[in-house]
Symmetry: C2
Subunit: 356 residues, 2 copies
């Protein structure tokens, strides 16, 4: 014999299905059915009532691990972000957590950093935990990781950043549209020579905001001089400051800088100040994201607001739908583009030539 069998009537430990069955006087399988709203229709109403009452009284909670082993469903969703501490991703995670909790799923988060190998490694760990689906906030435009998940049949949804492969479900902001709002605003103020602080070209937000910026210039009949675009090496304040410094040195004629995100814009503000220039008197600066508290920086930042929390909620619902679709062979999920809005504050003003 392998081990002493524990007494299923022992009330000392957390109650199991078996003990509950013993207490009610029916078989465990009947208890299992009575407790499942779907299958309880097949059980005698009186039995269902007795089972439910006993479960309540004994404080029975089904063991999710045992259930997972049997059903092959963990009710866990993995989320991989490049940086948990980045203020842009926190509301996304918050939105995901909220929507998942409503559906009785839990959220396993991993910080993948910006290094592709580490991201793969963290994703493998999540998959090893038998997550039912994965939400990726780390995607680059061509991403091995995304492809591998697809190949394994793991439901995957991208959030905030899309991949070039349009077959993948993604919940993103209309990045090009956001830049169109910015350029329209600056053009209306009278700016004609506008620089762009681009994000990394390998990330969809960097690429699409840049091409959106260029398209908007043309639409407004403004010159699109590639020299006036400088790409930052990363979405950080420091990278933004360095890129803005290079841009200001090379193109002193520009009267505004439209940055690809708020962190870059904050860096640009530092570079502007370091050169002894005034914002917006000498040069206007705009951001993208509307991060918390950018309304309090000096000067308050004009930026593009994205509903990150809603983005997270939608991504959660999309993975859940993808999981159901896997069972039902339902239609594939698709890309959703949320419409951003412009928030005008004090960092944008009339160009200096109009002031003079």
């Amino acid at each position: 014999m392998a081990r002493r069998k524990p007494d299923p009537t022992d009330p000392g430990t957390r109650p199991t299905l078996k003990r509950l069955a013993l207490a009610v006087g029916v078989h465990a399988s009947t208890v299992s059915r009575a407790l499942d709203p779907q299958r309880s229709t097949v059980v005698a109403p009186a039995v269902v009532a007795r089972v439910r009452a006993a479960a309540e009284r004994m404080g029975y909670r089904p063991d999710p691990v045992a259930r997972s082993l049997r059903t092959r469903r963990s009710h866990l969703i993995g989320v991989l972000v490049p940086d948990i501490a980045n203020p842009v991703f926190s509301p996304i995670i918050g939105g995901i957590a909220e929507a998942l909790a409503q559906a009785d799923y839990a959220l396993v988060v991993a910080d993948g950093g910006t290094d592709g190998n580490r991201q793969s490694d963290m994703a493998e760990r999540l998959i090893a935990q038998r997550i039912d689906g994965l939400i990726l906030a780390t995607a680059s435009r061509r991403d091995d990781l995304v492809e591998r998940c697809r190949a394994r049949g793991l439901p995957v949804v991208l959030v905030n950043r899309a991949s070039d492969d349009a077959r993948l479900a993604a919940i993103v902001s209309d990045d090009a549209g956001g830049m169109a709002l910015v350029v329209a605003h600056l053009a209306a103020l009278g700016h004609r020579r506008i620089g762009h602080l681009a994000g990394p070209a390998a990330i969809s937000t960097g690429y699409l905001r840049r091409s959106g910026f260029e398209a908007a210039l043309s639409a407004h009949g403004l010159e699109n001089d590639p020299r006036r675009i400088e790409a930052a090496s990363a979405y950080t304040r420091a990278a933004g400051a360095a890129a803005a410094e290079a841009l200001l040195a090379r193109c002193p004629e520009i009267t505004a800088i439209a940055a690809a995100n708020d962190l870059l814009a904050l860096g640009a503000l530092e570079a502007v100040r370091a050169r002894g220039l005034l914002c917006p008197g000498d040069i206007s600066v705009t951001g993208h994201n509307d991060m918390p508290h950018v309304d309090l920086v000096d000067p308050p930042l004009t930026t593009v607001r994205i509903e990150h929390r809603e983005m997270g909620q939608r991504a959660a619902r999309a993975v859940l739908a993808a999981i159901d679709a896997k069972d039902a062979a339902a239609p594939a999920a698709q890309t959703v583009k949320l419409a951003p809005t412009l928030v005008v504050r004090a960092s944008s003003g009339a160009p200096r030539d109009l002031n003079a």
Copy 2:
């Protein structure tokens, strides 16, 4: 018969222990032992080598769900925060995630909000997921939830906020010490009438920063007038603005406001501006936490820096230690107070009476 037995030699699906055993030509129990560094010493070295090679070749990964069911260990740690999107908690979560990943544990996060009932509910969900330990960032000074977890024998560690019950492991900042740094700084500048924007008294940070503030006034021989202390209803900018407005109306004589955290300080800055006062010319304002980017607000905020990321790492290590201790009946974990540092920026200056 219940069901057709799947062929364990079928290579189509993810390999199991049994299939690996079949491939190597030994029993599953031997494979299990060979793959566990602890118990592989008891297996013939040649067999260990063959098993490991086959595992590698077939890409075998033990199923964590099955393992959990058997060992009663999920390798999952739950974290309950009041608000995932709050910039103070993100680096804490980041630190926890990093330290857990190193120990091969994963992190399940839940957003409990500020409502006690919802917090309990979310904690129950985490526990239902069979987490091995819980990190609470939501603790109030007297917290039912904390007590209930203790009663169940679930390893619990508090982070950032402690409870009044000193038996509980907690990783916190020296909150009183942080306020002492602030008061010393303001006193050195010449301030003698200093107001305090307190946090909620039911939370340790609110209570301890307030009492630390009062103790520091006495230590510097400054008058401790309770009218000069106004408690905010929550740690938000809006609550900070409202409380600061009340404080300024009641005590126009104060020349500085020491806020219990940065969010309250940002609100105070708004209230100061709304009154047509200048910071720091008319009144100095200080914060607590050194949230990201408060160096860029207008004026750059003098505050107390807390190493939130390290706090998270330590909390993770503490739960892991508590889990081991549970097995080993090792000594109970204890409270760790991290030393904060003062960061002087432009929101604090000489009092207006010295300027005149």
